[in-house]
């Protein structure tokens, strides 16, 4: 199943730095795994725990209601070891935090974190959730008579803004605090031809609560979220929501991940034992059935963006909708045979197109803190900026990319448009870059690269700002954070240079930065 990563990012509380942020997310494109976690501020080293959770899931997504305690054990040990190291370090350095943290270690205090993990397989998405981070599944409902889009929305596990409290369920870093069983369920996905995407929106609590409040106040929110495609837009959105006059977002760490699933060929949905949900995308209609009522809180179809009140207040609306959708499905089966040839042709063209988009978008998403995977099936798309306070009147969720150019191996890269001072010579492999400016005889481009910490003048760069790094001369700059990928080596830096640092938390010895240079036309 092709999953498009539209955006992933996290941000910290107002006036704090990203290193204070206790939210984490992780992505394993190859395995189609996506996870977010929100470390509880008042717990003990929640940041380490939240990061371990998302990384662990993306490597080992096989968590369920039977094995979750075992699944946690490995990282519980890792967390404890890392915490012990930190406390010993604080003692050695006579840090004022030592007394507090030694007490917490002595009394076996846990870190706690909420968690959502998604794994997309051929015909379903496997969902694991604990706590008040929420998963929203939104489907566009394009109205022929209007350029406005609305969305029908399902939310998991919480259903409205009043569900948020001070004590969400969590995963804990000590076995003794394994108090909350995660909700693990599958959502079967079956697709027929349809023009709309199905969006999976993962959000930590402050944003989730804000989303619910917007839905309850009939304020458009999903269009806004789906149009976020850059860290800047995300930061602007959060700042605007925190300072809005009407509906305010709490000043908390915020993580957002937006995924889109497009149409695909029909497959049989497999049902799991505990919760049998079947979400079918076809001909513009979703069919969602929940064949058990044992766990009602995990499924509650609700309607966002004006047409209907939330489903919990209007249970008949869901039934009516399902009946209507079933009639539509029958009609679609009739015409399916006619369009099948066209559909196959469309899929081939779309595949070619999306592969290209994937390559481009990988170079365009600054906040994606994951290992780039050249073989990934996941694509990323970018849409136009938005302003939260504006009610958008158009559905201009345009997929648009910066111009891309392939630089050939051997290309010389210059520091500025004078094209005299060489920055890289020669380029050691061909690379695709984003063109950001052009002159008569020069082209300015950018690309995201990596350098390990041994190549940096850490703490020695006097003129560097907080978001800059300085790299030593003759350093090899990499397009992938592993020198064994020789085909990903970009080139050797001629002189000591400064670059804008980008967030990259997966491997701490690696620094990610934005490289900008010039080439001759």
């Amino acid at each position: 199943m092709a999953v498009n990563l539209i955006f992933s990012g996290r941000t910290q509380k107002e006036n704090e730095t990203i290193s204070d942020c206790q939210d984490y997310f992780q992505i394993n494109k190859k395995e189609s795994c996506f996870a977010i976690a929100d470390g509880a501020s008042q717990s003990f080293y929640p940041s380490i725990w939240a990061e371990l959770l998302v990384n662990h899931f993306c490597k080992n997504p096989d968590i369920d209601e039977n094995n979750w305690k075992k699944w946690l054990e490995l990282i519980q040990q890792k967390w404890l070891q890392e915490v012990k190291n930190q406390v010993e370090k604080a003692k050695r350095e006579h840090s004022s935090i030592w007394v507090t943290n030694q007490n917490r270690l002595n009394r076996f205090e846990s870190a706690t974190s909420t968690f959502i993990g998604l794994q997309f397989t051929e015909n379903k998405v496997k969902v694991s959730i604990v706590g008040d981070s929420c998963l929203f599944i939104a489907r566009e409902q394009t109205q022929k008579s209007s350029s406005n889009n609305s969305y029908s929305v399902d939310s998991y596990l919480l259903q409205n803004s009043s569900d948020f409290g001070n004590r969400p369920e969590y995963f804990a870093s000590y076995k003794k605090n394994n108090d909350f069983e995660p909700h693990c369920f599958d959502i079967g996905l079956e697709s027929k031809k349809c023009s709309e995407n199905l969006y999976f929106i993962l959000a930590t609590d402050a944003l989730s609560e804000y989303i619910f409040k917007c839905m309850e106040k009939k304020k458009k929110i999903f269009q806004t979220l789906l149009e976020i495609s850059s860290p800047k837009q995300f930061e602007d959105f959060v700042a605007s929501a925190r300072n809005a006059n009407t509906i305010k977002m709490k000043n908390d760490d915020v993580t957002l991940m937006v995924l889109a699933v497009g149409d695909r060929s029909m497959v049989q949905s497999k049902k799991r034992e505990r919760e049998n949900q079947f979400l079918s995308i076809g001909g513009g209609d979703i069919t969602l059935t929940n064949e058990t009522t044992e766990n009602n809180d995990s499924v509650s179809p609700s309607s966002d963006e004006f047409e209907q009140p939330p489903a919990e207040n209007n249970p008949e609306s869901t039934l009516t909708k399902l009946k209507k959708q079933n009639r539509n499905l029958n009609l679609q089966l009739l015409i399916l045979g006619v369009v099948v040839v066209s559909l196959l042709l469309f899929i081939v063209i779309d595949k070619i197109s999306s592969n290209k988009e994937n390559q481009l978008a990988n170079k365009n998403n600054e906040s994606l803190s994951t290992q780039p995977d050249p073989n990934s099936k996941v694509t990323e798309s970018k849409s136009t900026p938005t302003n939260l306070e504006e009610e958008k009147t158009t559905s201009d969720k345009v997929t648009k990319f910066e111009p891309i150019k392939k630089l050939d191996k051997g290309t010389t890269i210059y520091k500025d448009q004078e094209l005299k001072q060489v920055l890289i010579e020669p380029l050691l492999n061909s690379h695709e870059v984003i063109i950001i400016e052009e002159g008569e005889d020069w082209i300015k481009f950018q690309i995201e690269l990596y350098a390990d910490e041994s190549l940096l003048n850490l703490n020695q760069c006097k003129n560097c700002t907080a978001d800059e790094i300085e790299i030593k001369p003759n350093s090899k700059l990499l397009g992938f954070p592993d020198p064994n990928y020789t085909e990903k080596i970009f080139g050797q830096l001629k002189d000591q240079s400064r670059f804008k640092k980008l967030e990259f938390s997966l491997y701490k010895i690696w620094y990610k930065f934005r490289f900008e240079g010039y080439i001759k036309k």
Binding site: T100, Q102, N106
Partner: protein, 266 residues
């Protein structure tokens, strides 16, 4: 109202007032009221530091002040949390904690010493509120959009003047940020086994008790965030409950200090 989270951007202010009058030398919880109150306050400050710690750093999510009143009014300190944590004067005590396997294990617990037991003079509570007013006024001026300051008053006896203390406390309660008025909680500590009052929503059960009525009158109705925190601490909280306990034993005092100081530090 009362929605803001305490953060470095919008720090809070927690003020603890301690009665240091001579009657605080009376016995209480296997020590004296003064000794127990000092220990309880030191512990709650430790908890505040803990709540403001994030991994290996301490965030200045709030300011903390302790004001004593007895022979006079004494501002024991007013610091940012990160500065409080620099206090190297610690005592080590033994504490039993769950070992995670159904048993208890004794561990060392270090407590920073901020407040020492004192018991002399009268009960100039009104002057105490006056002193707190000055600090709070400055705080709300500098932090107009923060969660409002929380004042927790620990006392064992009647103030020198009911009227003046009432006036000063109500004046203090009028100060506000955009997120709400100053919150005043009162804890009357006593060894009396009868007549215990916890977070009452009306004074109908103790209308003949002038002292209890006074403290009820100057105590704030708990905003939702503190009411929830009080519930989690084990109190029976009714709508309209006020932040006030009377004839509180040691456990009740600790519970009030904890929910009063921690509720906004969620």
């Amino acid at each position: 109202m009362y929605q803001e989270l305490l953060s470095s951007a919008k720090p809070g202010f927690i003020i603890i007032m301690i009665d240091q009058s001579s009657s605080m030398s009376d016995s209480y919880a296997n020590s004296t009221k003064a000794e127990f109150a000092a220990l309880a306050v030191n512990k709650v400050i430790e908890e505040i530091i803990l709540s403001c710690s994030s991994g290996s750093v301490i965030k200045d999510r709030c300011y903390v002040a302790v004001v004593g009143y007895g022979t006079g009014v004494n501002i024991i300190f007013l610091e940012k949390v990160s500065d409080l944590a620099k206090n190297t004067n610690t005592e080590t005590r033994k504490k039993k904690v769950s070992d995670g396997a159904g048993g208890l294990v004794e561990v060392n617990e270090m407590i920073r010493v901020f407040v020492k037991p004192t018991a002399s003079g009268g009960t100039p509570m009104a002057e105490g509120f006056q002193q707190v007013y000055k600090g709070v006024e400055k705080f709300v001026s500098n932090n107009p959009n923060s969660f409002p300051p929380i004042v927790i008053n620990i006392t064992d006896g009647e103030p020198n003047s009911f009227d003046t203390a009432t006036t000063e406390a109500k004046k203090l309660a009028q100060l506000k940020t955009t997120d709400g008025n100053v919150i005043i909680l009162n804890a009357h500590i006593s060894t009396a086994s009868a007549g215990k009052i916890e977070l009452p929503s009306s004074n109908s059960g103790f209308s003949g008790n002038k002292f209890a009525n006074f403290l009820f009158d100057i105590s704030s109705v708990l905003p939702d965030i503190l009411a929830e925190s009080a519930k989690n601490a084990g109190f029976n909280v009714q709508p309209g409950a006020r932040g006030f306990v009377f004839n509180a034993d040691a456990e009740t005092l600790i519970k009030l200090l904890n929910f009063g100081s921690q509720g906004s530090l969620r």
